[in-house]
């Protein structure tokens, strides 16, 4: 079946502009995670959605970052007033439920802020 889909795959934006990154999780997966990966680095947790529960936003680095998950499916990560330090690959992952499950990752959106 289809995997996790992220769009766009690449995004170049000017400093100060807003960007929206989209994630389509695997159908039926209730959990959805966003991570940020800077060049050659590990994954930095941003936000986690589980079903209809309130999201865990503890990893969002500033109030310029926000995310929504509509209808328990598609998620959008929005970065307002982008800065050069926001340049990174933004990875989305989903999993079917809590417990001994593993994550299914998309290929990410590479964001470059000029």
């Amino acid at each position: 079946g289809a995997g996790v889909s992220q769009s766009p795959s690449n995004k170049v934006t000017e400093k100060g502009k807003d960007v929206e990154l989209r994630c389509d999780p695997i159908s039926g997966h209730t959990a959805l995670y966003w991570y940020r990966q800077s060049l050659g680095q590990g994954l930095e947790f941003l936000i986690y959605f589980q079903g209809n529960s309130a999201p865990d936003k503890s990893g969002l680095p500033s109030d310029r970052f926000s995310a929504e998950r509509t209808g328990g499916s598609v998620s959008t990560l929005t970065i307002q007033r982008t800065q050069q330090e926001d340049s990174a690959v933004y990875l989305c992952a989903s999993s079917p439920d809590r417990g001994r499950v593993h994550l299914h990752f998309g290929n990410g959106t590479r964001l470059t802020v000029t």
């Binding site: 050659g40 680095q41 590990g42 930095e44 947790f45 986690y48 809590r98 001994r100 990752f105």
Partner: protein, 109 residues
């Protein structure tokens, strides 16, 4: 914030040799997972070991877990050039999945 650390940060070996990567973590876990990432791609799950397990095998992969030391190791036996990738451990605890910085493995043909 990121949790855990992989060791070494980079590893270069010849095809056919074994590769061992280590991971230390900081919190109690439900399970620990290992993922692989090829350049420019997302992460792919390799293997999961539960907190009450000590060793697990999957093909050429062997994972150990020592909860007293809060550490895990991933062994890839008889490595191949196609194993070249970054390898990450991830600690899972109550819906919280945190990744280490990864080990960059290069297998030379």
């Amino acid at each position: 914030s990121q949790q855990g650390e992989e060791d070494p940060q980079a590893l270069s070996i010849q095809e056919g040799e074994n590769a061992t990567m280590n991971c230390s973590y900081k919190t109690s876990i439900n399970n620990l997972q290992w993922y692989r990432q090829n350049s420019g791609r997302g992460l792919v799950h390799l293997i999961l070991i539960r907190s009450n397990e000590r060793e697990k095998h999957s093909g050429r992969l062997r994972v150990t877990l020592d909860t007293s030391k809060k550490s895990s190791s991933l062994l890839i036996t008889a490595s191949r050039a196609a194993d070249t990738a970054s390898y990450f451990c991830a600690e899972y605890n109550n819906n919280d999945m945190r990744f280490g910085a990864g080990t960059r493995l290069t297998v030379k043909p």
